[in-house]
Symmetry: D2
Subunit: 258 residues, 4 copies
């Protein structure tokens, strides 16, 4: 039996796909009902059915059961809280050389979206240590990360990075905080030789201070970039960029300890 | 002993860092010499020294020995052949939901740069199968991938994808080819339910045909984006974007099998 | 008396400026009242007062009387109908070499916004001839252009350009129409040697057909550009591009008759 | 006789067009020869010929005689000195509401390129006063402006704007200088009510200081934008943006005296 016909098991997260604009992630369990404005679905009916199975709601809508994957979860988190955009997450991870086995420090945890992305990359032998100072953010992030099944690769700390970094010889440090320039020296000491730091900031002034501090600290290969994502409406003979777009998210500064 | 003072072992790839503009990756071995325009380095001298060690060339230049990491290798490959830009690689992998354990088909192999990035993500239990029709490209890519030590996670095939896809129930298919629209139906059949396809193309007309074919085939969540990377010259009181930039690399189309 | 203290005359268009978000253009006349949600203004009170004068509404709001200039009128027109963005208008005029004395054909008139900009440039001895096929658009545009006092430099025609161009030896032709490629040959014949054509289109396919037709017709210096305007939130220590922006308006193709 | 067959007169600037990459502006006079690497042209032969006439060089190349227009001259000036890009010139003029009859102060003159553009707009009854502190720049600009026949609308001053502005009740002030923030108060006093100021700067820090000063001075409608021009390679089935582009020229700040 191939993956196309993998069967839905009890306890799995399933994506109920209605159309391009509407879909839901549900945990499938016997006896459980899912309520939407399009009617009720008996989730127990899905157990044992193959993925791709179509279920009808009590109001007659057809929903398709798909495996809920990481991007589905990421989208769900992004709908609820402000997160670093995926385009930036992917580039941050790349410039931090975050890979299977890497030991990475992240500050701060926020919603846990970037944490989840990094954790997905370092598995199974690496680890993401993530600092956060606001207890309610940490609690919310923990819920998101537990649902994603990534806690094996994550260590969450309620801790202020300006008070120092416990870890040593880190492969990478990822900063998503308001005042990254205050901790550049601390980060340098915590990195191994050749280790990489990546910092994300929305304003010019933040990157100016951060880069200045990196230069003074002795980091090399300091690079500052911005990724502008243009979305397109593609249709034969009518293709054009979308009229309204996200014009700015932030700047990404990366550097390396020599 | 922490990672900062890890010792250089014989057979390892080491980055000899001179300055921001010049560095080299060398395989360290006893008796081996490295020749540059800045003089000769006795690589044997490095064996057993800690990373961060500074070696002098016969002409008096100082080089610092750093662990050569994946980004160093990627940069080296990019200097020799045209590769998909890192910003695009990272986003392609993200939109394909390529993660540890994923089974991914790539077409074509090209220089192996994207292959290496995907392979790094799927380790240790996933796999990247990569098709290429030009034997000399495959041979060159194989050399790059072997040096990176990633062949355990890669299967290289000398094969034309328009003749069909052998694999079934793939998690993702990544297309970097001139005529992606010709294989969209084939790709659909090879993906598992919920699987993702990502295609990279430099011209508008390619994405128009590709998206049109995806719509006819039944793919959902079809999205077309372009990542424009702006680099910055950051200096206190003189910060501005670089005057000359890479204005275009290509468009990224992603979609999902429902 | 210098211009700072020029007196408001009856019949003039005055800008009543309340704040950054709210202002109105009113024609000042004795006995006339202006009604807004912030109260009523006796416009007669303004006659004979110097510009810069502050008037109170019946609800106590303070409005400053400023000379209503062309940009104020343009903004007013843009709020009511879709117009070519000012950034594009300015570049279109430049690439058409539209200057004092130029004889320019525009097609189509639309809201008259671009017409008004071109007319402002060709004064006092040049002329803008503008074709429009929809009578209600022409009527609305005429109202806008009359209020701007530019009709001396404008000739409006209710005419389909695909049926031919009456004028000969034009200095420039500006096209803002759905199918510019259909009239490229006609435009060529109507231009003088060295004359210039500029065409504005929102989609890639339009410019592809237009450029192709220009090449076949013998135009030279064919250039296609897109102006992306990024707006900034500037504030000491918090400067950054605006988060949401107009990502696309259209492409500008320019060429010259040799 | 229409403009297509206007005859070339002695003393006129003529564009000798060879191909897309090569053309020259020459002043046509009897007895005069033009020397290029493609051979010699007897310019006297052109006098009395219609525009569009083709002349052969002594080496057999064919050159077409076209009227040299403003854009041709602008391109020639831009090849020799660094000038504000046309896209920025056009938008600066628009945001300054520079129109026929406007009295405009420009600082500094530089190569005279922006001066020439503004002068072309204010004709025949307006005036551009332009300050420059470097005598050799002024001399070079004067040569450019005289050749363009625009000196009737221009007043050149060898003067440092930080020492004050002589003029009063200006319609607009255009600043292209390293430290615009130093003169914002001075500019305010020199503008009429409703007058506009536009400043062009390459760095973020310049606009930050300029905007801050404008706010303190009482300017309204302060706007900061950046125009990013993307050029396209348009070809049926191969259309895409150019790979290398000018990524940054500068920021445009505009404001109004209330």
């Amino acid at each position: 039996m191939d993956g196309s016909t993998r069967l839905i098991e009890s306890g799995e997260d399933v994506l109920l796909y209605m159309n391009e604009r509407k879909s839901w992630i549900v945990k499938v369990e016997p006896e459980k009902k899912f309520h939407s404005h399009k009617g009720i679905v008996d989730l127990g009916e899905l157990v044992g059915k193959p993925y791709g199975y179509e279920v009808k709601t009590t109001l007659g809508a057809t929903l398709k059961a798909m495996p809920a994957d990481y991007l589905d979860h990421l989208e769900r988190i992004a709908r609820r809280t402000q997160v670093i955009y995926p385009k930036d997450m992917a580039y941050i991870a790349l410039m931090g050389n975050v890979r299977s086995g890497s030991i990475v420090l992240e500050c701060g945890t926020g919603s846990g979206a970037l944490t989840s992305y990094l954790a997905g990359l370092v598995r199974p032998n690496g680890k993401v240590i993530t600092y956060e100072i606001r207890e309610e953010f940490q609690a919310n992030a923990r819920k998101n990360l537990e649902r994603l099944g990534l806690m094996d690769s994550i260590e969450m700390k309620l801790k202020d990075i300006t008070g120092g970094i416990d870890e040593k010889s880190l492969d990478a440090v990822v900063l998503d905080m308001a005042t990254p320039w205050l901790v550049i020296g601390t980060v340098y000491d915590a990195l191994r030789t050749g280790g990489r730091v990546v910092s994300f900031s929305p304003t010019i002034n933040q990157i100016e201070k951060t880069v200045d501090e990196m230069q003074k600290t002795g980091f090399v290969s300091i690079k500052t970039v911005e990724l502008i994502m243009r979305t397109y409406k593609v249709k034969v003979n009518e293709t054009r960029p979308d009229m309204i777009m996200v014009g700015h998210t932030g700047y990404i500064v990366s550097a390396r300890k020599c």
